[in-house]
C-alpha cells in the first residue's frame, strides 16, 4: 500500500475518532463504585461521557434485601443523572442504571456501594 495513502487513511480515522461524538459510558459516580460511605447518601449521581436522552435513562437502587430505596424519579441533566434515595441504614446497596445517549446507543450496568463499616 502506498505510504501517502496509508498516512492519509490513518489521519482520517484518527480525526474521526477524535471529533465525532461517541455514546455515553459511565465515567464515575457518587458514592463511588464499590466504595464505603459513612452515612446513607440522600441521592446517587452518575456522570457519563456524553449527553443523555432523559426519556430513556434511569437509575434504580436496591438495598441488601432487594427492596427499592430510590424515589423512582431519575433526573437527567446533560451528561449527569441522579436519583433521590429514601432514608436507609447501613449495608450494601446496588445501583442499576440504563442510559440512551444522544447518538442512540443504549448502555446499561450495575455496581454496589456500602453504607457504614
Amino acid at each position: 500500500m502506498p505510504r501517502p495513502f496509508l498516512f492519509a487513511l490513518m489521519a482520517f480515522m484518527l480525526g474521526l475518532a477524535s471529533e465525532v461524538q461517541a455514546h455515553a459510558t459511565l465515567d464515575h459516580s457518587e458514592p463511588r463504585v464499590g466504595n464505603t460511605v459513612a452515612t446513607a447518601p440522600h441521592e446517587v449521581t452518575l456522570w457519563f461521557t456524553q449527553k443523555l436522552e432523559s426519556a430513556f435513562s434511569s437509575i434504580t437502587v436496591t438495598n441488601a434485601a432487594g427492596e427499592r430505596v430510590d424515589s423512582g424519579k431519575t433526573r437527567v441533566s446533560g451528561s449527569q443523572m441522579s436519583v433521590t434515595l429514601r432514608a436507609g441504614g447501613p449495608g450494601a446497596y446496588k445501583v442499576n442504571w440504563r442510559v440512551l445517549s444522544s447518538d442512540t446507543h443504549a448502555t446499561e450496568g450495575s455496581f454496589s456501594f456500602q453504607v457504614g463499616h
Binding site: 459510558t25 442512540t104 450496568g109
Partner: protein
C-alpha cells in the same frame, strides 16, 4: 482472526508460516465489554476496522525466516446479529541467504460470515458461529498463499465473571473468550512434477493439505470493568482503560496429515489492550510453544476502530434493522 497454518516455497524450502490476520469484533454484553483481541476472533459481531495490524517473528523452519506482516480487516453488520468481514495481509519474508532479496506479497483474501447465536446479559455470556473462506489464488505463492480455497467453520464464545459472588469481587473483571474452528482445504493434495537431474526421469512430489483444528482462547482482566462495576480505586485515568490479557493461538492438523504430521503449533501471547470509546490499541508478545512454531519471541500490534461509535448513524449501523446497539459501559477517551 483466522488462525491457519500454510506452507510456502521460498528458495526451494518449505517454510511454515503463521500469517497473523487482524482479529475483529468487539462485543458488549451487559456490564461486560469484550475488546477485539489480536490473536483470536472475539465472540460477537460489530462494525469495525482493524488497521493496521503489524507483526514480526521468526518462523519455525530450519533455518528460520524473519516474517513481517501488515494487515487490515473491515467488518460490516448486515443485521444486528450478522456481519461479513473482509481481510487482507501483506507479508515480507526475510531472506534465508543474506545475499538474496527475500520475498513479499499478499496472502489470500479472507472473508468471514459471522452470526451471533446467543447472548445472556446476566451471566455475561455470548456465543457466535462463523464461516471463514480463504480465497485460493488471490495471494502470492511466493509468500505461501495457497492456490485453493480453505473453508473454516468456527464457534466463538465469551464469558465474563461478573456474576461471581461479592466474596470474589476482585475476580469479576476476569473474562475468557475462545474459538474452535476446523479448516478444510478445498484440495486434498498437490502434486509437483520435476525431472531428476541425475537420472533424467520424471519425479512426482505430493504434498497433502491437512485439515486443521484452529483453536485458541484468551484470559483477560478488564480495568474498565473494575472501575465501573466493582470498585473505583481512583487510579490515574490511563490505567482505567487497560485490559491485560494472555492469548493462545494454536493449530493442530487432524486429518490428511501424511506429509504435514500432527504436531500442534502456535503461540502464547501475553500483552495489553488500551480501550477507548472509539478505538483501541493493543500489543502482544508472540511466544512460540515449540521449535516448529517459531525460533524466537515475536511481537504483534494493532490499531482498531469501533465504527459503530465513530459513525453510529452511517457506516457504523447495520444495513438492515435497528441502529441502536449496546455500548461500552465503562471505557472512555
Amino acid at each position: 482472526m483466522f488462525i491457519r497454518s500454510t506452507r510456502a516455497g521460498l528458495y526451494g524450502l518449505a517454510v511454515a508460516l503463521f500469517p497473523l490476520s487482524p482479529a475483529l469484533a468487539h462485543e458488549i454484553v451487559g456490564n461486560r465489554f469484550f475488546p477485539a483481541t489480536l490473536g483470536i476472533d472475539d465472540p460477537g459481531v460489530n462494525d469495525e476496522l482493524s488497521f493496521p495490524t503489524v507483526d514480526s517473528f521468526k518462523t519455525g523452519d530450519d533455518p528460520s525466516v524473519r516474517q513481517r506482516d501488515i494487515s487490515g480487516e473491515f467488518s460490516k453488520r448486515i443485521t444486528e446479529d450478522f456481519a461479513i468481514a473482509f481481510g487482507s495481509t501483506y507479508t515480507f519474508l526475510g531472506p534465508i541467504d543474506p545475499t538474496s532479496a527475500g520475498a513479499n506479497g499478499f496472502q489470500n483474501l479472507e472473508t468471514t460470515f459471522k452470526y451471533r447465536l446467543f447472548k445472556n446479559i446476566e451471566h455475561e455470556f455470548v456465543m457466535s458461529v462463523g464461516l471463514s473462506v480463504e480465497w485460493g489464488g488471490s495471494g502470492s505463492a511466493s509468500v505461501g498463499a495457497d492456490p485453493f480455497n480453505t473453508y473454516t467453520p468456527t464457534v466463538y464464545f465469551g464469558k465474563g465473571f461478573g456474576d461471581l459472588p461479592d466474596t470474589l469481587s476482585w475476580v469479576r473483571p476476569v473474562a475468557v473468550t475462545g474459538q474452535v474452528g476446523y479448516g478444510v482445504p478445498g484440495r486434498n493434495s498437490t502434486t509437483t512434477f520435476g525431472i531428476d537431474p541425475d537420472s533424467g526421469e520424471v519425479t512426482a512430489d505430493t504434498e497433502f493439505h491437512p485439515r486443521v483444528l484452529n483453536w485458541g482462547g484468551t484470559i483477560q482482566y478488564s480495568m474498565p470493568y473494575l472501575k465501573s462495576a466493582v470498585v473505583d480505586l481512583g487510579l490515574p485515568d490511563f490505567f482505567n482503560h487497560l485490559v491485560p490479557l494472555v492469548e493462545a493461538t494454536l493449530q493442530t492438523p487432524i486429518a490428511n496429515t501424511l506429509t504435514s504430521g500432527r504436531q500442534t503449533t502456535g503461540t502464547i501471547n501475553p500483552g495489553v489492550i488500551w480501550v477507548g470509546n472509539k478505538f483501541q490499541f493493543g500489543v502482544e508478545a508472540l511466544i512460540p510453544i515449540n521449535r516448529q512454531s517459531g525460533s524466537n519471541v515475536g511481537v504483534i500490534g494493532q490499531l482498531h476502530f469501533y465504527l459503530d461509535d465513530i459513525d453510529p448513524r452511517g457506516i457504523g449501523k447495520p444495513l438492515f434493522g435497528n441502529a441502536v446497539s449496546a455500548a461500552r459501559p465503562s471505557a472512555r477517551n
